[in-house]
């Protein structure tokens, strides 16, 4: 069964299978460490979904995205921990403040293109990192912000690893589904049009600057949401969690994942997040090997990304599309 311009039914079945297996993971393992690592994967999937919209669909670059994750994390931690407001307000405030940050950065910078936009966002990331260190009354300074409470909904604290896992992956799946709807909608076409040809987009009556600002804000909001979840699930944040290194990693996930795809970047986020925690998914991994991986973490990232780009220049999404095309499926 194939709907015109739609997704193959078999793809939907495949997605349903993925969702079900995501759901049952906590029933198969009660290992706190394993669940925590897989929860981190979910958090990064949320961030990379925002980056995929910005980079993969709209063709814009941000080398300062960790700053938005940080803004979200500190905002939610401050609102819930310091101000003592109900938990749900934390992530909502995180999304709002991160989106506002995205808007303020987007207004001047999106007049820039390519390398210049990259430089502006890089500068923003560095400024925010300094702010996280210096504004110690709010952020706890270089020592970080600790004792951030677990998420709680309707007065019920979600303190179990399985609960956090479900919460984060629930948010991740909803973010991906809404984003998938978005890219196939009128606004999504406007975003993709920017990537294709700005002149062509203008000729279609698309306000190029407005669309750039919107997708930038959306992408910052998703990063802020991920940051808030990160803060509450881990319970501790510090400026190091939101450094340039993290920004580069977010871009790397989107690039390795491939353009015009949400599934590819989510897969890449999964793989790259798991590298330093390889022992969580590979049971028999020897201690010295794990130590080596962690010691050479950056090199492992570089190697993984190079491998993807070398063997699949169109990213993991390209690989998926090819695999699917061989069977005559269509991954729209």
């Amino acid at each position: 069964m194939m709907r015109k311009g739609g997704v193959d039914l078999r793809i939907l079945v495949l997605l349903a299978l993925v969702m079900v297996s995501l759901c049952v993971v906590p029933l198969l393992t009660s290992d706190r460490y394993q669940l925590k690592v897989l929860t981190l994967v979910g958090i990064n999937v949320i961030t990379v979904t925002g980056m995929a919209l910005l980079f993969g669909f709209a063709g814009q670059v941000s080398l300062g995205h960790a700053a938005f994750v940080g803004i979200g994390a500190y905002t939610s931690a401050y609102v819930v921990s310091t101000l003592g407001w109900p938990w749900l307000i934390g992530p909502v405030a995180a999304v709002v403040v991160a989106a506002l940050g995205g808007f303020l950065l987007a207004l001047p910078s999106l007049r820039l293109r390519g390398h210049y936009l990259a430089m502006a966002t890089l500068g923003f990331g560095e400024i925010m990192r300094v702010v996280f260190v210096e504004a110690s009354a709010v952020t706890g300074g270089p020592d970080g912000f600790s004792g951030i409470p677990y998420p709680s909904l309707a007065g019920l604290e979600i303190d179990s690893p399985a609960g956090n896992y479900w919460l984060v992956w629930g948010v991740a799946v909803v973010s991906m589904v809404l984003s998938a709807n978005l890219v196939r909608s009128r606004s999504g076409r406007a975003m993709r049009a920017l990537h294709g040809s700005e002149s062509g987009a203008m000729a279609c009556g698309i306000d190029v600057t407005a669309v750039k600002v919107r997708v930038f804000v959306l992408s910052a909001a998703l990063a802020g949401l991920a940051g808030a979840l990160h803060a509450h699930v881990i319970g501790f944040i510090s400026p190091a969690s939101f450094s340039l290194h993290v920004s580069v990693l977010i871009v790397a996930m989107a690039v390795a994942g491939g353009t015009r795809s949400l599934v590819g970047p989510a897969l890449a986020a999964t793989l790259l997040t798991l590298i330093p925690y390889a022992d969580a998914v590979i049971p028999g991994l020897s201690r010295p090997l794990l130590d080596a991986i962690q010691a050479y973490q950056e090199d492992a990232y570089g190697l993984a990304i190079s491998a993807v780009m070398l063997f699949a220049p169109a990213g993991l999404a390209g690989l998926l599309r090819r695999a699917v095309a061989v069977r005559g499926w269509r991954l729209a």
Binding site: G5, R186, G188, R192, A203, C204
Partner: protein
């Protein structure tokens, strides 16, 4: 009644005058060609008309509204659409999606409605798909519906760009060298398509080098030379105009005429 009025438009580039006080009118439901030797200022004038460039002096009036200095997205909403000399298609979108994107200006679902697939957005999307399909059929390229623009042959890409422009529901369609790189069969198909479009009530301005096509399809021709209008009138008068012939003979590439 004139749909478009170009009044004394002047455009300079670094002290060089590209368009020097050109004036003309375009009447509703006609095809007007803009021709002239290389460097005559056709492309500059074309970009000024479509708001991709703003004039240093002069006014552009569309349907009684002074649109001088408007942004392209605003012009599109008023009913002026354009194509490009170097096609500006969305290569990583299918032919259908390209035309659907053209409907942007005449539809309105925002990000939230799209992300949550609200009934209004879904209904609008269905209309967009239907209209895009209709336009692909109008241009005779419906068998390319699900093919990526990058995989389409050159001649059909030009037709696709026209279909995308029509999706903005224009009253005035501006074509920048639509026949460039087309063979005779493709050019004939293009001419047919332009007649069909005009018969649907769309006024057309075309900048074109292919004199055969220009003489065949235009109701009126404006001839530019060195930024100035040197002649205006129906094809058979322009062909015989000694000033026009002199202008074309004066350039190296004189086999155009």
């Amino acid at each position: 009644m004139s749909l478009l009025e170009v009044r004394q438009v002047l455009k300079r580039f670094d002290g060089l005058i590209a368009v020097d006080g050109a004036s003309f009118e375009v009447y509703e439901n006609t095809i007007k060609a803009l021709i002239g030797p290389n460097g005559a200022g056709k492309s500059t004038l074309f970009n000024v008309l479509t708001a991709f460039d703003s004039p240093d002096e002069g006014r552009i009036v569309f349907d009684g509204i002074d649109i001088t200095g408007f942004k392209p997205q605003r012009i599109v909403r008023l009913g002026i659409a354009r194509t490009f000399q170097n096609t500006q298609l969305f290569e990583e979108m299918t032919a259908l999606e390209n035309v659907m994107t053209g409907a942007h200006a005449v539809t309105k679902s925002g990000m939230l409605r799209g992300a949550f697939r609200l009934p209004s957005a879904v209904a609008e999307e269905r209309d967009i798909v239907e209209e895009a399909g209709r336009l692909l059929r109008l241009l005779g390229i419906e068998q390319w519906t699900d093919v990526y623009a990058s995989d389409m042959p050159h001649g059909l890409r030009r037709l696709l760009e026209i279909a995308r422009a029509l999706a903005t529901r224009p009253r005035l369609l501006c074509l920048d060298e639509p026949a460039a790189g087309l063979n005779t069969v493709e050019t004939a198909t293009l001419a047919e398509a332009l007649y069909r479009i005009r018969d649907k009530g769309v006024t057309i301005i075309v900048v074109e080098h292919d004199m055969g096509l220009v003489m065949e399809i235009s109701d009126e021709i404006v001839v530019l030379d060195r930024g100035q209008k040197i002649a205006e009138g129906p094809p058979r008068l322009i062909q015989k105009d000694p000033v026009v012939i002199a202008a074309y003979l004066g350039e190296d590439d004189s086999d155009d005429m």
